[in-house]
């Protein structure tokens, strides 16, 4: 549903970075980022594997805290075939 969850940068390797969110790590391209990023920054990922913007850490943590509440609810997941 149009969600893009802030992911934290763990490692940077040239134009790509390893990011983590809820224990899931993925490698993303930094080539669409408008400014340099650093380890520990939060970024939004779009089109599967492109970081597109930095999220201020307070806003990122608020979003992640909200999602922790959502994921803790037993009927959150959905599977309609």
């Amino acid at each position: 549903m149009c969600m893009a969850i802030p992911s934290r940068i763990l490692r940077i390797d040239g134009d790509s970075a390893t990011v983590e969110c809820f224990g899931v790590e993925r490698v993303v391209s930094l080539m669409l980022m408008p400014e340099p990023v650093a380890i520990g920054d939060y970024v939004l990922i779009q089109s599967g594997s492109f970081a597109v913007e930095t999220v201020e850490s307070g806003a990122a943590l608020a979003a992640l805290d909200y999602l922790r509440q959502v994921l803790a609810e037993p009927d959150t997941a959905n599977d309609v075939a």
Partner: protein
């Protein structure tokens, strides 16, 4: 790879005797993702919505603000509504251009135009800051609108230049003769992809009999959402028993070029993609038109105590609906009906469009093209089985 909380579509397609069979779509969207908005102030809920549902953040924020305003029995003033039109058009330009410069070339085996897309994002991604310097663009009742004419004009000039060069290779084609010339002579990856579809006989591939989403009676829609206790409607919507499709083709079907393509090859890949390009060009023109007459406005105070409201906007991917219920000044219930749930419905445009179509030598590639043309707002996983 998607994160569990972001949701995902699992799409299973089958091929028998060279034709696509029935496809199965499992929508793994977290249906309860808006439940934890309950108990928050309307302003806090709207801000959180724009942080969480950030793929089409501006459309989500405008829909949220309008839902809260309706719950208060208010609507934003005309100037604020114009500014919101500008934000929605800007997001539409950026989203459609992202498909043309990033997703479509990769499907066609070409390199994406990352430098062009980065320049376009630089011009448009922070557009709301030029209109609402305090960052309160999503504020119910309207934020502090103080448009900065010079930077805005520069952003639009950059957007026009990038799109002209990287997507269209010149002026956007707007009618059948200019479209044919563009396919024959333009040298952008977008033109090559679409010309290739025509050459391969895939212009009408994926044409679906699923009709476009009509205007929905707001009272009936609100009633339907209010009764949706288990989320079945927002995850698998229908309107009076029928499934519909929404998005650029539904909005642009009457535009002369799109109408001509529809008449020639039906609502398949070419019409879906051409409608997106036509809308990309028209959204940019709309932004330029609105920019010329935007002025300062302070908005209205809006903080409903009781009641419910609906916000309906046309986002890049199709119609987006938000509904809020308020009790004692706090959100008591929040619902979102997103366009992906229409287009990727188990009986929707993708499933209907694939059924019985020739699978060719690369069925997965063909299926991915149609998925991209319908443009889900979540990641998807595609699996292919021989029936």
């Amino acid at each position: 790879m998607s994160l569990p909380a972001e949701g995902r579509l699992d799409i299973e397609i089958s091929v028998a005797d060279g034709l696509f069979g029935p496809a199965i779509i499992r929508n793994q969207r977290p249906v309860g993702a808006t439940a934890a908005l309950a108990g928050r102030s309307p302003g806090e809920a709207v801000r959180l919505v724009t942080r969480l549902f950030s793929v089409c953040r501006l459309a989500q924020g405008v829909a949220a603000a309008e839902a809260v305003e309706q719950a208060a029995g208010q609507s934003a003033g005309a100037v604020q509504r114009q500014a919101r039109r500008m934000l929605l058009a800007g997001e539409m330009v950026l989203e459609h251009a992202s498909r043309a410069l990033l997703d479509w070339p990769m499907l066609a085996g070409e390199a994406p135009s990352l430098a062009a897309l980065k320049a376009l994002r630089g011009a448009l991604a922070a557009l709301h800051g030029d209109l609402y310097p305090a960052g309160d663009w999503m504020c119910p009742g309207g934020g502090g609108l103080a448009p900065s004419a010079a930077p805005l004009s520069q952003r639009l000039a950059t957007a026009r230049q990038v799109i002209g060069q990287a997507v269209f290779g010149g002026d956007a084609p707007v009618d059948p003769p200019s479209w044919r010339r563009w396919l024959a002579t333009a040298h952008t990856a977008t033109a090559r992809l679409l010309a290739g579809l025509v050459e391969q006989g895939l212009a009408g591939f994926g044409a679906s009999s699923v009709t476009t989403l009509p205007a929905l009676d707001p009272v009936l829609l609100a009633t339907r959402l209010a009764a949706d206790a288990d989320g079945a409607f927002v995850i698998r919507p229908d309107w009076q028993g029928a499934v519909h499709q929404t998005g650029p083709l539904a909005r642009q079907a009457g535009q002369p070029l799109v109408a001509a393509i529809l008449a020639e090859s039906g609502p398949g890949l070419l019409a879906l993609m051409a409608a997106r390009l036509v809308e990309l060009a028209s959204a940019l023109w709309e932004m330029e038109e609105i920019a010329a007459r935007l002025c300062q406005d302070d908005g209205l105070f809006c903080s409903p105590a009781e009641g419910s409201g609906l916000g309906v906007v046309e986002a890049a991917r199709g119609r987006l609906v938000h509904r809020v219920e308020m009790r004692e000044g706090r959100v008591s219930r929040y619902q979102i009906l997103a366009p992906t749930e229409w287009n990727f419905h188990p009986h929707g445009a993708l499933v209907d469009g694939l059924l019985g179509q020739p699978a060719g030598r690369d069925p997965e590639g063909r299926a991915r093209l149609l998925i991209a043309a319908l443009d889900p707002c979540v990641d998807y996983r595609l699996s292919l089985a021989d029936a």
